[in-house]
Amino acid sequence: MSIVSIKNLWFRYRGSDNWVLRDVSLKVDRGEFIVITGKSGCGKTTLCRCLNGLIPHFYEGELKGSITVAGLDVTKTPVSRMASIVGMVFQNPSSQLFMLTVERDVAFGPENLGVPRDEILRRIDWALNMLGISDLRFRAPHELSGGQQQRVAIAAILAMQPQIIVLDEPTAYLDPYTSLSIFNLLKDLNSKLGLTVILVEHKLELASSLADRIIVMDGGRIVVEGGSREVFMKDLSVYGVKPPSIPRLFLKLMGHGFRFKEIPLTVEEAAEILREVYLKVDRG
């Protein structure tokens, strides 16, 4: 059952002749974990804005085709309604947090949706607990580290109990260890809550092994889609996309006579494959 169904979508911003999205069709199933990648300016951020109605309600322009999310026509549904269905998380969490305490920031979304007070309190408990930040409840968001702030931003979105969470390079400003913990957290929310995750990322190193499907965009179109292993087998350089180093190494080896059944995505898989196939050969 598709939660997102986009058909033949074209969009250009007001005042621009250039179509930023060109005939994009996409179906996303409930509970899927999708990674969207592509070079700067390929239209991935614009596509995300179409999912919660920021396009066409906030960013105006010319739109052709249809966007259906959770059964609603996004172009005819108020942004306030979409906000309770699709949660958005951006690169820089400090642009999303503005209250004096974490608790107030997390309460803000449900308050605006008119959720009753008891229910808001329950949701704050739940969201902070899910993110492992209950101890930050009464802290000021602007005093927290980048990783903590991004967790607060995600908690604030979860408290609205969206069906889909869309994240636009959520770990860009975070150190690798913290990024990894955020990605693992997303996977956790995806598998435990069945939350549909749409993640826009350049850093495929950490994200690709979590994704059910990778979508590559170029020039406003979806040019490649499929499972990570399948997608990395294709020549993505024409679209300005580079597979992570582990699959890249194995592709290069395959190009030089090495035989592998499949391409690994993680360090562990890679070590396992090479160990099985080659290390039993005496290295003399």
Partner: protein
């Protein structure tokens, strides 16, 4: 040469951001300053052009004590490209943005025009010449901020998280560019979390944690040290971690990137 001697720095409000930093960066070096969020990396580079002055100790740039020079004077030598381009961009058009520093430094108009042309071409921003900086994408804004510093050709090029929001093509271009300007003698200092990027350019690596330098050495030695890297919220490059699992590293031949691993594996199983 940049010399940092026994530097301590405390922000107003009492947060101690740097503790007993001692560091010398020679002319022509290529250095990466790495470490967890909040380790003091950005604070440290702000010392290099005098934006911040040490609470204790001193910083010398080519022998000039930063406490005794103006930021304007130092920034001609030390060009810093900040992490968030929004903090740096302000002009009406991209062309004016880039011209700003050149005109301030008194370059003649024909030289200004020549440099703008070449830098727009290099950064792939030519088509936006007359547009507002604020209509650019995040990645493009970063490139504009870099262009506006590169254009006046400072001796020390300092970049704060230059790869954030950049796609692989832009990263490759940036990598080639940094290696090339460094080869021609420019001192390059970058603050970054991007271990995969550092694994490609293999600079000297300075690791920071909680306001202190915890390691200083070649990329070969530092990036593969998993415990050291993890102690400041970094992870070794994936290829290094893979090579460590299979004991593929050799003395004097540490595996940091795809090309390194490829050479060793081909050597082990096909050649040799």
């Amino acid at each position: 040469m940049i010399e940092v001697r026994n530097v301590y720095f405390t922000y107003p409000g009492g947060v101690e951001a740097l503790r007993n930093i001692n560091l010398t960066i020679d002319r022509g070096e290529f250095t990466a300053i790495m470490g967890e969020n909040g380790a003091g990396k950005t604070t440290l580079i702000k010392m290099f052009n005098g934006l911040l002055k040490p609470s204790r100790g001193c910083v010398l740039v080519d022998g000039i004590d930063t406490r005794e020079a103006s930021v304007a004077e130092l920034s001609r030598k030390v060009g810093i490209v900040f992490q968030n381009p929004e903090h740096q961009l302000f002009a009406e058009t991209i062309e004016e943005e880039i011209a700003f520093a050149l005109r301030n430094f008194g370059f003649p108009e024909d030289e200004v025009a020549r440099r703008i042309d070449s830098i727009l071409k290099f950064t792939g921003l030519e088509r936006y010449r007359g547009s507002s900086p604020f209509m650019l994408s995040g990645g493009e804004k970063k490139r504009l901020a870099l262009a506006s510093i590169l254009v006046f050709d400072p001796d020390y090029l300092v970049l704060d998280e230059p790869t954030i929001g950049q796609d692989p093509e832009q990263k490759d271009k940036l990598l080639q560019f940094l290696v090339e300007v460094n080869r021609r003698g420019k001192t390059v200092i970058m603050v970054t979390h991007d271990v995969e990027f550092v694994a490609e350019c293999k600079p000297r690596v300075i690791l920071m944690r909680k306001g202190e330098i915890i390691a200083d050495g070649s990329a070969d030695k530092i990036l593969v040290d998993e415990n050291l890297m993890k102690s400041t919220s970094l992870l070794p490059p994936q290829i290094s971690a893979f090579a460590s699992k299979l004991n593929l590293h050799r003395p004097g031949c540490t595996i940091l990137n795809v090309d390194d691993a490829f050479r060793i594996l081909v050597d082990l199983y096909i050649g040799g």
